[in-house]
Amino acid sequence: MSVSPEHLVIAPILLPLVAGALLLFFDDRERLLKATISILSAVALLGISIMLLRIAHADGAVDDGRVIVYLLGNWPPPFSIVLVLDRLSAMMLALTATLAIPSLIFSIGRWQKAGPHFHTLFLLLLVGLNGAFLTGDLFNLFVFFEVMLAASYGLMLHSSGSQRVKAGLHYIAINLAAALLFLIGVALIYGVAGTLNMAELATRFPDVPVERRIFLESGAAILGVAFLIKAGMWPLSFWLPTTYTAAPAPTAAIFAIMSKVGVYVILRLSLLFFEETPDGVSGFGSQLLFVGGMATIVFGTIGVLASQALGRLAGFSVLVSSGTLLATLGLLQVEITAGALFYLISSTLAISAFFLLIELVERGQDAVANVLAVTQEAFGDEEEEEEEEVGVTIPGTLAILGISFAACAIMLAGLPPLSGFIAKFAILTAMLNPEGFGQGGAIAASAWWLAAMLIISGLAALIAMSRAGIRAFWAPVELNVPRVLLVEIVPVAALLMLTLAMTVQAGPIMRFMHATAESLHAPRSYIDGVLDAPRPPMSRDAPLPPEVQR
């Protein structure tokens, strides 16, 4: 049986769902088996998403890329729910799988034992993430958001502890409130436009009469607030550093992409809905995105400088990264969007690696040791099993940790030779050469402001990381060398090597990002691709009532 690309589209949702459900049949003590199944499915997921990426990109042969539509239940397009694969969603799928594998491998060492059903929750989180990237329906997006959030609550509270439960309480409360805003926005848009299919919405937006426009725009704005809470735009972001700091390390590593889901949805919907409107509404809210993004960078930078603990430093770095993305997307230029997409990948990889690394570095320090002691108290004495642990303790721990830490610092500050530099360079070049490289052209004041903020935030990250590094590696008189397993350092190293690979392969990747940004800014091919999607013939051709066929 050959699998057509249309059917491959639903695999990123089905595979982790089935694997996650399968794991429930095994007792939690069969850890090796559970870990093997979940890592294997994550690897399969990576393979599938790379295949999808190739299909969607079509090797650059087609200018607009290819839009693959999966019709659930084989209903004709604007009815029912569709899954849509284009370059952007394929890219995000690949990024999710890339982050999932190191996090899962990292969890073998210690964290999967700290509470029940770690792997099932993790796989369900992947279901929600992949679904949110693939869906072409606004309400279905809500459903996948909730799947993702419900799993993230479990992962956030994994291994318990009062700190985690307190932060988790705030996290859940704010996300429940955000979900309600999401629903209000969706309902308003449905009330005015009469559909929830994203592509059909995009075609109907320009035709909405002026007197009803206000409802549409309020709906879009309320919807936007829900996503901006997820993305962590100031002043909706105070929950984020606390939550990410309190989360267990492998969870925090995958959470790095959760804030990018908000950015992804804003990017997709704002360019889909408001790009083509003729009467000056084009770029609805983009100014707010820019200003909010700038405020987020400022807030994040101050937070980075003020952070004493490494965890909070990483949490505020997430904010800087979100702010940079929002501000650059607010400028609405193809070149800048391409740079921002490169930045999205590179900063997510770096922050993910940093969260994993922090847990290893702090293992030798007291605060974290206490937390772990409490954990072990709560879940029984694990000392005996500590002996039969998988893997080998690595030699030269401090040197390796130090090098990884320096690499993270370079990434977050955006210095050469790692990909953080290329990402910022791409954004700055695009901003300072609005007419194309070397063509001159007036540079907007907003571009100067953003360029200054990008450089200042990088400098602040460098200062804060140097201080934290000196304090962690050089200052202690009696240094407790943390016991680090091979399975724990390899994921960190792998993520950092990926950023190095991104530097080496910067040319092809940038070309891909450019193509992606171009098709995002001209969403016609996406809209037509969805609305004119061919229906595969049904095996048992049941006659449909004429109304539905129409």
């Binding site: 309400f139 609550y153 009062s162 439960v165 988790g168 309480l169 409360a173 004429p546 109304e547």
Partner: protein, 115 residues
């Protein structure tokens, strides 16, 4: 009818928001539940073609007049939203109890404010 519905939604939202901003976890969860009800009513009222006592589903066969049917989509949306809201509220309740057990107080910050 419109007035009654909008008043109901307004009262639910305002009490929900007020409770959500209170310092006790129990008030927060009740506030979230009230907001959830308000949102469900709101989704329902956003239907394109609401008629009382009309079926929401088309019958197969002969050509039919869509004006004799009510809009089925908001009902499906509300049903989904109710299920998801119910599940997440239950989950929040568990976390609330865990926080109460671990910190010994029902304040949302896990400790009583200093007076």
């Amino acid at each position: 009818m419109e007035l009654v519905l909008s008043l109901a939604i307004g009262v639910l939202v305002s009490s929900g928001v007020w409770l959500l901003l209170r310092p006790r976890t129990y008030q927060v969860i009740i506030g979230l539940a009230l907001l959830g009800y308000a949102v469900n009513l709101f989704i329902f009222s956003m239907g394109r073609h609401l008629i009382i006592n009309a079926p929401p589903v088309l019958e197969g066969g002969d050509p039919i007049d869509p004006m004799t049917f009510t809009d089925p989509l908001p009902q499906a949306l509300v049903l989904t939203a109710i299920v998801i809201g119910f599940a997440t509220t239950a989950l929040f309740l568990v976390v609330l109890l865990a926080a109460r057990g671990l910190s010994g107080t029902d304040h949302v910050d896990g400790r009583e404010p200093e007076r």
